[in-house]
Symmetry: C2
Subunit: 246 residues, 2 copies
């Protein structure tokens, strides 16, 4: 049992340190708006796959009970620790501004209270462990996406520092938010994730195509992006930029 524990820990920790390597390789010269966006597009697939996998199970609320013996603090400290560990490593490869930005507590709260109830059925099938593992996958994917805002912001800043610098010095949050927002790009993202949810979440059968029968409602996926994932990413971008010249 001790052996299993030790080995399982190794895998889990390594899973958290992945960004270290990839970030290290991509450091300095690769933070272009284009390369960062390409990564965000690929991350959409991971987020949508993980949401579809979680939707196999109903809410399974005992997973999150504070006193459910097998998963102590699952909805709280466990997730924060794992997610924060990830962010701490990621932040090391950016301007020092990055290290002070961490919105995981907020992501966790929004995920459990607002997002999750939208795409799982109410009920309990006893699969608490798989449920916890699936939640963790989604949270890691979403947290990664939102904190990727630091790279997005760095890329945007490098593209046009003269536009950003005066606004940063003036701490003009409103003008900064406007400058870093591209309504057109946002609309494309929202539409694309809806299409991806349609494609990846359809029931695939040989005899007949079951159109309109999705494992997760595609409109919900686009709502997750529109209402939370995009705004929270932009908030990370904003916070990063405000500290960029410190």
């Amino acid at each position: 049992m001790m052996k299993l524990r030790f080995m399982a820990v190794v895998v889990m920790l390594l899973s958290c340190t992945e960004r270290h390597k990839s970030t290290a390789k991509g450091s300095e010269n690769e933070y272009t708006v284009e390369s960062v966006r390409a990564s965000l597009i690929r991350q959409e697939d991971t987020i949508i796959f993980s949401v579809i996998e979680r939707a196999r199970f109903p809410l399974n609320s005992p997973t999150y009970h504070q006193h459910y013996a097998s998963i102590p603090h699952f909805s709280g400290s466990l997730l924060d620790v794992v997610l924060d560990y990830t962010e701490a490593i990621q932040a090391k490869f950016l301007h020092t501004a990055a290290s002070s930005i961490n919105t995981n507590k907020n992501i966790r709260k929004v995920y459990f209270h607002e997002m999750l109830p939208l795409f799982v059925a109410f009920g309990d099938d006893g699969n608490y462990a798989q449920t916890a593992a699936s939640d963790l996958s989604i949270l890691q994917a979403i947290s990664r996406r939102i904190h990727y805002g630091k790279f997005v912001a760095e890329a945007k800043f490098r593209e046009s520092p003269r536009d950003y610098e005066p606004l940063i010095r003036a701490k003009d949050r409103k003008a900064l938010l406007k400058l870093l927002t591209s309504k057109n790009v946002e609309e494309i993202v929202v539409k694309r994730v809806e299409k991806k949810a349609m494609v990846f979440g359809q029931e695939v059968s040989l005899d007949h195509d079951v159109k309109g029968n999705y494992k997760v409602d595609p409109a919900i996926v686009s709502r997750l992006y529109k209402k939370w994932i995009i705004p929270m990413t932009k908030n990370v971008e904003l916070e990063y930029l405000l500290r960029r010249l410190d």
Copy 2:
């Protein structure tokens, strides 16, 4: 750090014990050929999603070096321990025949030496941790599918015990294998997973449909099933049946 380790272990262990609950709930009366097949069909999605996620990375062979410091024994004992722990729990909910059947060492060998090189590019991008985590996901999904052969065999046995009993008593492996094989069903599975790989692995874009550009070659996915996953599942079925009357 100790806290993180402890908590990460909890998630990992729970992830392994999931089948305990689901199997307990489905015990006794739900092992019909139809219900077992429905589970296998849903498991296809999980396997294909995980293969697509793994294919994001090249082979990354240092992940598997015996002396790669961060992942000791990853290609060997680590995986066996995690996977075997899963199977030990699963087997508890079946006829005693189940507990003696475990083909994880073989699955691991086939996976790394034959399956994996078919769907990843040769190369090294440094993402060893994500690579290890992805391999573990696929191995868990494939191991679950193959050892599900115990449930498949139990369901088939219950459906027509009079056909199976004399062959089991005679230890007639050849006739048993013939009896539990449905060529028609196998062909449907192979075609369906190919179609699923086409659907789930396509590049989804708003402007244009990129047909024929798949993240994993669909023909490879059907080959994984035809050449290894289906035969190995049938072998588990056969071994289970041979012990069914002990």
